[in-house]
């Protein structure tokens, strides 16, 4: 089921161990080929070649500054005005890193949730309806319906159904982050990118968020950056380990945690480093 394309160790190159997912039930929907990211002249990602399986959760782990967030932000072109991204980002057969790609249409399919909960200073309802209205949805029934299903999917509906017109800024951190997830899935994306979504949350909210993600993966392909090793272990099928701008190891999560092939990965997941 798994084909190894182990990258050998030669000269000063660090040992790498990359096993791309091969699973007939979960075909690849997104992959990067020869992806390099530069901030000015400084190279932040040297080569990030990963493939992501559909309806699975892939965790990107690694120490601070390892480039995992930079990599994630490149996937839906959020780095466009900040950094130079070269290489190919293949989404269902189309390279979305081409200059003539309509990034706004692309981002509808590849949504993103950020580290810090960032609801707009609008009502809960208007937060979720924001992107739909931008796309010209004016039908009130349709909007009501999408707001309700999005909030239900994000497991927030029961807590806020009577307060839809209240300001989203009054929500707690965990609720606000789930509102952001609801806002992202309201446009029915294909892939959901999450950049350390639980790092600003307390343990209870984090665990609720994880349950929500496990529920959401039935409909969406999820790629999540996390600092929390246990979190990666709990929710993801695949894990990529980043260090100093390189993907050093990529495999199923159970392999990464029980039998890491690269010494640094082993040190990192066992807590000896990072």
């Amino acid at each position: 089921m798994f084909v190894s394309n182990d990258v050998s160790t030669t000269g000063t190159m660090q040992k790498r161990h990359i096993v791309q997912p091969r699973d007939a039930q979960h075909p690849i929907v997104l992959s990067t080929e020869e992806l390099h990211v530069f901030y000015g002249k400084k190279e932040a990602i040297y080569e990030g070649d990963l493939q992501f399986a559909r309806n699975q959760i892939t965790a990107l782990i690694g120490p601070s500054g390892s480039g995992k967030s930079t990599y994630l932000r490149s996937l839906n072109r959020m780095n466009d005005r900040i950094a130079t991204v070269t290489g190919r980002i293949m989404y269902r057969g189309v390279d979305i890193n081409q200059s003539d790609i309509d990034v706004y249409e692309m981002r509808r399919r590849v949504g993103m949730v950020f580290q810090r909960p960032n609801p707009f200073a609008k009502s809960i309802y208007d937060n979720i309806a924001f992107a739909l209205r931008l796309r010209g949805t004016t039908d009130q029934h349709e909007l009501d319906e999408i707001v309700e299903t999005s909030l239900k999917q994000a497991a927030l509906w029961n807590q806020v159904k009577d307060d839809l017109n209240k300001s989203a800024l009054a929500l707690s951190g965990g609720q606000a982050q789930r509102l952001c997830i609801a806002r992202a899935i309201a446009v029915k994306p294909d892939i959901l990118l999450l950049d350390e979504p639980a790092s600003a949350l307390d343990p209870v909210s984090t665990s609720q968020l994880e349950d929500t993600l496990l529920e959401l993966k039935k409909q969406y392909t999820i790629i999540i950056v996390t600092h929390n090793m246990q979190q990666a272990g709990r929710i993801s099928e695949y894990t990529a380990f980043f260090n100093q701008g390189r993907v050093l190891e990529y495999d199923t999560t159970s392999h990464i945690f029980t039998n890491p092939q690269v010494q640094i990965t082993s040190d990192y997941v066992s807590g000896n480093f990072g």
Binding site: M106, R107, L134
Partner: protein, 309 residues
């Protein structure tokens, strides 16, 4: 026992640091007192002089605010002095509101360019330019208005060229940098994650600016505009040079008119302290002072509302 007493003595002795602390507090408190005294003194002085028109010269306050004839040296048929300040009040408000209406779109447009569309060029070129414009003395603006704007208005609309329109043009340029740089601050204070959230949802940059950034910055932008209006309202020299200084109800935008400030600057040197003419000018100054207080209040109210959001 003896050591306890010694320790107490040591601890209760005022150290050098403690003395410095008291000294610092005294200095900053007296600075504060001085400023409060100056502000209270100015307000008290202007108020006492300005009220004299109504107390010792027995001018009716309502007449003062609504009469259209300003000629403090002359009494009318009923023996009442002609001190109707309405033309100047109207002139001041008209010129303030018009210049704010013209300046606001340009200022917000420039601010959006500087902060959202091209932050690099904005920081390198436009920022220093706006700061330079803020620092140009008003007499320079007035002089350019006198030698460029007034002849242009004369050529286009005939008449003298002096009037509200020329004043508006000059004030527009004068308040533009103030409103622009305050608008830039307002946009800059919108958190970056608002923009990211909007872009990640597939909004275009323009949709993000229009629907998210400008909405979130509205209290700050309103403060910028009111601040510009306060500056326009209080500006004396440049306006006086181009408005024509005729204390008449402005019939049109190109007729010579007057503002509270322009009448004050032209008239205050030609009157005798304590005379009605002099007191009437102080009353105008009082109106100006009260209006700037009102502008300040508005700015504070908007700021508070913005924080509550």
């Amino acid at each position: 026992m003896k050591t306890t007493q010694q320790l107490e003595k040591q601890l209760k002795r005022h150290s050098k640091a403690a003395k410095l602390e008291i000294w610092g507090k005294v200095v900053s408190f007296s600075a504060l007192l001085l400023i409060v005294a100056v502000v209270v003194g100015i307000i008290g002085f202007v108020a006492s002089k300005g009220i004299a028109t109504f107390t010792s010269n027995h001018v009716n306050l309502w007449d003062f605010l609504t009469d259209k004839k300003w000629n403090p040296g002359i009494t009318d048929a009923n023996g009442k002095p002609e001190v109707g300040a309405l033309p100047m009040i109207v002139g001041s408000f008209l010129i303030t509101i018009l210049s704010a209406i013209v300046a606001t779109p340009f200022a917000i447009g420039t601010a959006v360019f500087m902060n959202e569309i091209s932050p690099n060029k904005g920081a390198k070129i436009l920022q220093p330019v706006t700061e330079l414009l803020v620092g140009i003395p008003s007499v320079v603006y007035g002089f350019i208005g006198l030698s460029v704007v007034v002849p242009a208005t004369r050529a286009i609309f005939s008449g003298s060229g002096f009037g509200i329109l020329s004043g508006t043009c000059v004030l527009f340029v004068m308040i533009l940098p103030t409103v622009t740089s305050m608008s830039v601050d307002a946009l800059r204070s919108v958190p970056r994650y608002y923009r990211e959230a909007s872009l990640a949802l597939g909004a275009t940059q323009w949709q993000t600016i229009y629907k998210v950034v400008l909405r979130a910055a509205t209290p700050g932008l309103m403060t910028a505009v009111v601040f510009g209006m306060a500056r326009a309202f209080g500006e004396a020299l440049a306006v006086q040079m181009v408005i024509g200084n005729a204390a008449l109800m402005p019939g049109s935008l190109v007729d010579p008119a007057a503002t509270l400030t322009s009448v004050l600057t032209t008239g205050i040197g030609n009157t005798v302290m304590g005379s009605l003419q002099n007191n009437a000018l102080w009353s105008l100054a009082l109106v100006l002072l009260l209006m700037s207080l009102v502008f300040n209040l508005i700015i504070r109210l908007i700021g508070r509302k913005g924080r509550l959001q």
